[in-house]
């Protein structure tokens, strides 16, 4: 994903604003343009609405503290996805150690139905969409991450590697396994 001039300009304003008002406007733009994708990725990773909201807030807190260190070698969205994935995978890992209340699947599916902003883009029927979301949710987190970054967010292999901090070959292997798993999980539904 190439770096967009708008993103570079936005980052410059966040780092060296002309005024406090200028900084605040740049922040609002960042939130407006990216919070949907950050929250969407968190929701699909964590499968729980409240958890995804909290994770998104943590992402913005980390963005604030890391603004100065971001070198703009990657696209802004890739950097945001990297932070989001870090936050989500850490949360999923801590859930493993405290699995007292696993998040309910219905919670996520209801959220997606409620939150989908543009009915025109709901090209899948509700039943199909639920089946696909459920199948993705059943994947191992590491596989879920690569499928979401590749197929939903449209990142390249290289960007996925940067986002989850693994070699490109690992991305290829995980994608292969993830697609195979998905195919198997959806086989019954498709037949």
């Amino acid at each position: 994903m190439p770096r967009r001039p708008d993103d570079i300009h936005l980052l410059a304003r966040l780092r060296h604003p002309d005024s406090a008002q200028d900084w605040l406007e740049a922040w609002e733009t960042l939130i407006r343009e990216h919070s949907g994708r950050v929250y969407g990725l968190a929701l699909r990773m964590l499968r729980h609405r409240q958890d995804a909201e909290d994770a998104t807030q943590v992402v913005w807190e980390r963005v604030l503290s890391a603004l100065e260190s971001f070198r703009a070698e990657a696209a802004l969205s890739t950097w945001l996805f990297r932070i989001t994935m870090n936050v989500c995978l850490t949360r999923l890992d801590s859930r493993k150690h405290a699995p007292a209340e696993p998040p309910g699947e219905d919670n996520l599916l209801d959220s997606i139905a409620d939150d989908a902003p543009d009915p025109e883009r709901r090209t899948l029927g509700r039943e199909t969409r639920d089946a696909v979301e459920r199948a993705i949710g059943e994947l191992e987190p590491a596989f879920r991450a690569v499928i979401l970054l590749r197929e939903v967010e449209g990142l390249s292999y290289e960007e996925i590697a940067q986002t989850i901090d693994v070699p490109v070959n690992t991305v290829k292997t995980r994608l292969y396994r993830a697609r195979l798993d998905l195919q198997q999980k959806l086989a019954a539904f498709r037949s």
């Binding site: 005024s19 922040w27 604030l64 989908a116 899948l124 959806l186 498709r190």
Partner: protein, 158 residues
Amino acid sequence: MNCDEIRELLPRWADRDEGGLSDEERRLVASHLETCPDCRQALKELEEVTSMVRALPPIGAPWSVEHRARELGHFHARRITTEPPLELTAALRATPPVPVLAARARRDEVMESAVGAAGDEAAPAPMAQMAAPHANRVWVVVAVVVAIVAALAYWLLR
């Protein structure tokens, strides 16, 4: 190559150029697909699943998510507008411990700087000075602390 080996390559074949197959692997997969209906079916299923995932609708952030993020931004903006001017904090940090009279002089200097920064409208206003009421309050506190320290030091050294 047999069917199992070909099927391992199919996901990368489906990703076209980005899949990173070598020319030789591409040639092998293409020729195998021409003659193997089972692998063609496997490729079709793979592409169907991939396109189903790609067709998932985007998720919009609920109002509460954006609201919390905006609040965070406002909180941060308030913080950066109440930080003391950089040149003044640097000067304070660089100042070694001083005797009482010098400390008194320093206190006066700080007070003058603070009053000057808030009152000089012609001077370019760095972000740190934009919230003048907050900045003034900070400088008054700094001046009071310096005065107390100076008085204590004077009383002890007398």
